[in-house]
Symmetry: C2
Subunit: 419 residues, 2 copies
């Protein structure tokens, strides 16, 4: 934690001028009573920016939100869990647009001022019959302190909700940043099946906000991997309404640097919390590569190690298997010299100059048995560095992901699909 | 099967003029009596060619064999399982070279005429104290019909040995090709923790043999994936001794085409057998991509689908989850248009034009429940095609790969490691 900002309570409604609400619509299961729809809204005009999945198969709400963020002045975000509205074709787009139209009307906003996000199973139509009647409940339920309910409503296979907020002082004004996010499978560098919403009462231009968001996403959500898969629905959307007062934070200033530092922290904490709560994950592993020929080479090595099934299996088994790590380093396509590679596990040398280090196996094993540890790989070639946050791969992960079939079958019975 | 060749018995000693032997040296475990060292040798001069792992961290025997294949007239192959002799530095290289020197002397060959291969755990020194005394036993034990013993001696986590042989007629002469191979983890396109040896009594120039081998490897071992990891030791080595008589098969001729077809078959059958016997694999899945903008795009899509943990988990669970398949198609970085993508599972349409097809879920599920099935992905853009042979990912795979620690600990006790 830095001296620039401090953690406060409140999540996305901690910043001034933001309202939220959440309801239970039974999107996935009509009989379940869990919160699964939410709305975030700014009381005043605001600027918005977002980053989205780079998957070429994009969910309908991603397409709609990208357009609205580009062309409109987004002031509200509608979100549901339980159905991804992905691979749903023209009717999926119509459903997403219809939701933004209805919410816009109820909030007295243009349709283009409402962004929309969905997360859940791919390939099933949205149960609009259950969603539509809840939209007015969401609008009438908007409150100033309901941030946690939104964090809960967006959960899918997450086991806990994730939110954070910080405050910092910029030009004598108290600025707040709040955020909530969800994981927990299909998590890979360059976005994942994750949603993250960020609010701030700082005053920012749209361009400045976009730049802040892009930079923070690059060092947070683009640095995490759970299972190497990349989802169709990943979205980070940030709203800045200027409610804290004062002038706009201009890029390139000391104030901008402070704001970026705080936003980096918020997004990185959210990103790390997704890894910690990854599907059936038991370990949080930081893979830190240094000494690479370039930034890109360091990235290749970090991604190869952090995504190797065999490496991740060994972490699950408390196995300090540096042989599997160096084999992943070798196939990463980065420039490496085997005889220069050092690997430290939890601060202990496991491999020095490409050879087994003179170290106690039991000491190494204790490092890997911890809930969280750092793998440091030094290629000893140049200055390239990169860090990724990863997890182990457990038999329970595979078991958990073996079958969604029962759900699909039920969905058919519910009349959600064509046949 | 084609009319060009027919399957025969005998493995690598089916072709004329090849000898082999196998012994138990206790490379991994001094107390175990399984075969773990083998020797293949041609009775006469021959030409040799090989392809090796593209991992930048290469095992010592890979480095030695590459040099010998380039500079020498390799006529014998020494191989052990139980220890990879990878990440073993200068002493590992010395060990590998020493073995080739001893075997060369015993066979009255130059050191550079002996190739050497190892497979097993990475990062441990070779137990030369147990290996060296067995080298003369291997040489004195050479016989004409011992091919199967070699196939057995190279097994690691394989559950069965793999061998094949075919005969074909070229220019009136009966030509034979024999092969044996081992898997079974770290299997990924571009070679794996696999070894494959191929013998033929055809007469070939070294250049012709290299070309034949490269082409067959490209359509066989470079097309299989089990766990997305790529080993430090992968090697395919082929020997051609011309013992069948007649002139050399020249490239670009009809005879060469016949020989290539037979060799393609031999290597593809070996490659497929590695997938079928992949670690804790329950399904053999052919991923066939067509309609891509280019060959490379088709390859990207096939590799993304065949390596997706989530897709492989769903196959394990008999789950015809085309949503996960299309999400992998989307992140493959190939050019795709979501609304044009068709996915057939076992011949049944699961997704047409990016949307769920009108198909019985139970019928689809039966297709995925089979031991082997084909996933056909048509991008409907152009003519690019690519096929990969893949498998499911099981909880048992992860469990199997969780820990080698017990082995390492034993290795320390055996004095195999420094401490």
């Amino acid at each position: 934690m830095s001296s620039v900002y401090r953690k406060i309570k409140g999540g996305i409604t901690a910043p001034l001028g933001f309202l939220s609400s959440a309801v239970s619509a039974g999107v996935k299961n009509p009989d379940a009573e869990r919160l699964d729809m939410a709305l975030i809204s700014s009381e005043m005009e605001c600027v918005a920016a977002g980053t989205f999945t780079t998957n070429r198969v994009k969910a309908a709400p991603v397409k709609v939100s990208q357009t609205h963020l580009r062309d409109g002045n987004v002031r509200a975000i509608l979100v549901n869990s339980g159905n991804a509205n992905a691979c749903t074709g023209v009717s999926g787009l119509q459903d997403a647009r219809k939701c933004t139209r209805i919410v816009g009307k109820l909030l007295d906003l243009k349709q283009s001022q409402v962004a929309v996000c969905s997360t859940g199973v791919i390939g099933l139509p949205m149960p609009m019959v259950r969603i539509e009647p809840k939209l007015s409940d969401l609008v009438t339920g908007l409150k100033r302190k309901e941030g946690t309910a939104v964090a809960q409503a967006i959960m899918t296979s997450d086991t806990c909700h994730k939110e954070i907020s910080v405050s910092l002082t910029i030009a004598g004004k108290k600025v707040k940043i709040g955020s909530c996010a969800k994981g927990a499978g299909m998590i890979n560098p360059h976005m994942a099946t994750m949603l993250c919403f960020v609010t701030t009462d700082a005053k920012l231009t749209k361009d400045a906000l976009s730049a802040f968001v892009s930079q923070s996403v690059e060092t947070s959500f683009n640095r995490i991997t759970i299972d190497g898969d990349m989802s169709t629905n990943d979205s980070v959307i940030m709203l800045a309404n200027g409610a804290c007062g004062g002038g706009a934070i201009r890029r390139g200033t000391a104030d901008a640097k402070k704001f970026q530092e705080a936003l980096d922290y918020v997004m990185l904490e959210m990103a790390k919390s997704l890894v910690r709560d990854g599907e059936r994950v038991t370990k949080f592993v930081t893979v830190n590569v240094k000494g690479a020929k370039s930034y890109n080479d360091a990235k290749k090595v970090a991604e190869a190690v952090a995504n190797s099934s065999l490496v991740k299996c060994s972490w699950n088994g408390n196995d300090p298997n540096w042989g599997r790590i160096i084999h992943a380093v070798g196939y990463s396509k980065a420039m490496v010299k085997e005889e220069l590679i050092d690997i430290h596990i939890g601060g202990l040398a496991a491999c020095l100059g490409g050879l087994e280090a003179n170290v106690s196996m039991d000491a190494l094993r204790k490092k890997v048995a911890a809930d969280a540890f750092i793998i440091e790989i030094n290629l000893n070639l140049c200055e390239g560095e990169y860090t990724i946050y990863s997890s182990d791969l457990s038999p329970e992960y595979v078991d958990f992901n073996r079958s969604e079939y029962a759900y699909w079958k039920q969905a058919r019975k519910d009349g959600l699909t064509k046949q």
